[in-house]
């Protein structure tokens, strides 16, 4: 007779077979049998967080920076509801997470038992799929299926809810066969003729542009390499969404910078004026498109995505290619080479005109700001951070708001999986726990959370986790005492009525750092900034860096709401110049 295992043992056998090394969690009544089993599995390290939301974001940071699924273990009721924000965040940004939650014993489900909630009901809209395990014999199949669903196709979070009696019950363990139905859902559906059609479009185009997104990162490091090859082969300009940063080198000449609401002038104008738009693994998010009716009006549009439902959802495209980004780019490059088409040479004349136009837009230098020698400008702080860390392999996470956009604009990424930010859901408080997860996955690397003082307070408690596990993460706070992005919108759109966006009674972050047992550093003037950043980098402990920056600085350039890409609001320098010409005209 084959050996029988308890539910808790089966959970760990599955985790071992899935080669899971780290889980992020928080114990509680309904998961105690699983926690009891933890000691027998030395290959799996548990990271104890301080709040379940932190576990979720840490697992996201772990998954994004390593390419492996993040695993979360929480208890029933509040444990499960606390993780909902992180699951939704992962769902929006396509991050593979496997969340295991405890549940009250089967016979108590539906009786409003202590710490009971309808976990699968609550998490149904924010997971790719979820399971309530009602029969111990289903557990091995469900656990492996959970990993399969989370990591294949367009990745995303899943949840397995295991009642406490199931954790005690016994059954055989087996490694199930892959489900055919799921494989079919994730299959590449493109044909060679789609690729031929793409190449024909590329051949004809005189103003082409690549618009790449998080799909390239999710497709694996190979996809980024292939993308670089394709871009070099074609000579086309390339722009990236917030999530796609790093899949193409940020300091390369063919890269136009990020596009969208706070993207560069050249990237947005190129999107508006192009005649061929090739979307690779992006989803036409509303922060990208601006006004839909006037989005890239003159272009043929191609969309490459593994998720068929992303295609034609927002923007109707002329050519849809459903498949894994890496596979599609590979076929495209192969066909290009086979046909011996050197687009860069044959198209050179047409495209060089296009590049001239782009160069003209570039001279606007839309990311410029008026620096100061008295007060630290937040953009300057990010630029200095980049200059002082670019020589080592650095991982950046962010919270949400102005600092996030400044980090995206001024920090240049050269590799994928180095940039972890909450784009879709825009979760304040994402960055600190995400940095914890990144540091767990990459213990020797430099991990920095570029933060705002408002966001950081939402998940501040996780610094305690960093200290417990000696994770030397650096929290780089751009402290302007305001919810900066809210303040900016209020200034520009609500007649400077700064309703509830100023944080009174902020903590002393240096003392707070000391209270937690890590190091606090404060910078208040530009001339001390470099030394202090260097000091932060050199300390082999968690650091909270309180960088006091200009309170009234706004994040530019910006596409105001309801406006198309070619009507950007530029920075104060440009606005002043425009004002003068306006008056000048009136005089004439």
């Amino acid at each position: 007779m084959p050996k029988l295992y308890t539910g808790a043992e089966i959970v760990f056998k599955c985790l071992e077979d899935q080669k899971v090394e780290h889980i992020f969690g928080y114990p509680g009544g309904a998961v105690l049998p699983i926690y009891d089993e933890l000691k027998n599995h030395s290959s799996i390290k548990h990271i104890l967080v301080r709040h379940e939301q932190g576990a979720g974001h840490a697992a996201e940071g772990y998954a994004r920076s390593s390419g492996k699924p993040g695993v979360v273990l929480v208890t029933s009721g509040p444990g499960a509801t606390n993780v909902v924000t992180a699951l939704t965040d992962a769902y929006m940004d396509s991050v593979p997470l496997v969340c295991i939650s405890g549940q009250v014993p089967t016979h108590l489900i539906g009786t409003d038992a202590f710490q009971e909630c309808d976990t699968t009901g609550i998490t149904r809209p924010c997971t790719k799929h979820n399971w309530l395990v009602k029969d111990i014999n289903d557990l091995p199949r469900i656990m492996h299926e959970a990993f399969e669903v989370a990591t294949t196709g367009r990745p995303g979070p899943v949840l397995v809810d295991i009642p406490k009696d199931i954790q005690f019950a016994k059954a055989k363990y087996f490694f199930p066969k892959k489900e055919k139905k799921i494989e079919i859902k994730n299959k590449n559906k493109f044909k060679q003729k789609d690729i031929d059609q793409l190449i024909e479009l590329m051949n004809k185009a005189s103003r082409p542009i690549f618009y790449t997104g998080g799909g390239v990162v999710n497709s694996g490091p190979k996809a980024s390499e292939l993308l670089r090859e394709l871009v070099a082969l074609t000579g086309f300009p390339i722009t990236s969404t917030l999530q796609g940063l790093g899949s193409y080198p940020g300091d390369d000449n063919q890269f136009l910078g990020m596009l969208g609401m706070h993207g560069t002038y050249e990237a947005n104008n190129a999107m508006h004026d192009c005649d061929l738009l090739i979307n690779i693994g992006a989803r036409f998010d509303d922060r990208i498109t601006g006004k839909i009716d006037e989005f890239s009006p003159k272009s043929k549009k191609v969309h490459i995505d593994i998720d068929p439902s992303s295609i034609n959802k927002i923007i109707k495209v002329d050519l849809a290619i459903v498949g894994d980004v890496a596979d599609v780019i590979k076929s495209t490059t192969k066909t290009l080479k086979k046909k011996n088409l050197n687009l860069q040479k044959s198209n050179k004349q047409k495209i060089s005109k296009w590049w001239q136009k782009i160069q003209k837009w570039r001279t606007k230098e839309s990311l410029n700001f008026i620096n100061s020698d008295k007060i630290i400008k937040p953009q300057h702080a990010v630029q200095r951070l980049y200059e002082l860390t670019k020589n080592q392999d650095t991982f950046i996470t962010t919270e949400v708001g102005q600092h996030q956009m400044w980090a995206a604009q001024h920090y240049k990424f050269n590799k994928p999986n180095r940039w972890m930010t909450s784009g879709g859901l825009g979760t304040m408080g994402y960055g600190l726990p995400a940095a914890v997860g990144v540091q767990v996955a990459h213990p020797k690397k430099l991990v920095i959370d570029v933060a705002g003082e408002a966001s950081i307070l939402m998940t501040m408690q996780e610094i305690s986790t960093a200290i417990q596990y000696n994770l030397p993460i650096k929290i780089f706070i751009l402290n302007n005492q305001y919810m900066g992005m809210v303040r900016q919108w209020q200034e520009l759109l609500h007649e400077k009525n700064y309703s509830e966006s100023y944080s009174e009674a902020l903590p002393d972050f240096v003392k707070l750092a000391e209270a937690y047992g890590c190091v606090g550093i404060r910078a208040e003037t530009p001339h001390e900034l470099d030394d202090k950043i260097q000091e932060m980098i050199d300390i082999d402990k968690p650091v909270i860096f309180d960088c006091h920056v200009d309170q009234s600085e706004n994040c530019f350039p910006m596409i105001p709401s309801g406006k198309p890409h070619n009507q950007m609001l530029l920075g104060p320098k440009d606005q002043e110049e425009n004002k003068i010409t306006g008056k000048g005209k009136a005089l004439v």
């Binding site: 799929h129 439902s309 709401s561």
Partner: protein, 182 residues
């Protein structure tokens, strides 16, 4: 134009709305219906009617028939989103005007009236395969199968003949001819 204060774009004009019948083959497991219905409510799609039942006990398959309205783009999204759900095997999509598809709904009418009126009521239902399921000297339960609008009309017309209660199903659909939808 009034300056928009929203962080979101203004809605563009709505396209033409079509009525479609969506047929979904799913694993007959716990909460599968709420996944399908939740997708509709969560993404703001309409459900005009819904019919669900197991159709294959051995394969454990249920068939869900949903009548919905939307622009062509929304209908396409509904189909693609449904296909992404893990328990979904296949999805069929038919226009209501499609001549190759049969749609039927069933209704039970309870008539409380004298025998003359009951006879009249039965006669009025003649076109819609009426079956008397129960009859007393002052009441009858009549079953009809018909299209939605026909049942609407009958329910209105039978009021004067003593209709006091109507129970209706959602639409079910089947293609004509020898072909099977795949």
């Amino acid at each position: 134009m009034v300056k928009s204060k929203s962080a979101y774009s203004v809605p563009s004009k709505l396209g033409k709305l079509d009525t479609h019948i969506i047929v979904v083959w799913v694993d007959n497991e716990a909460s599968v219906l709420s996944r399908v219905v939740g997708l509709f409510s969560g993404r703001g799609y309409n459900i005009e009617s819904l019919a669900v039942a197991e159709v294959d006990q051995k394969e454990n398959l249920s068939r869900i028939t949903i009548v919905t309205t939307g622009t062509p783009q929304v209908i396409e999204q509904i189909v693609l989103q449904l296909k992404k759900l893990v328990p979904v095997h296949k999805v069929g999509n038919f226009k209501r005007e499609d001549k190759n598809v049969i749609f039927k709904e069933m209704a039970l009418f309870k008539i409380v009236a004298n025998s003359v009126k009951i006879k009249k009521a039965l006669n009025a239902c003649k076109k819609y395969n009426p079956v008397i399921l129960d009859q007393t000297n002052k009441s009858a339960v009549i079953q009809i199968t018909a299209l939605r609008r026909e049942i609407d009309k009958m329910a209105k017309n039978l009021k004067s003949l003593g209709l006091i209660s109507a129970s209706r199903t959602g639409a079910v659909a089947m293609t004509r001819g020898a072909e099977v939808f795949n």
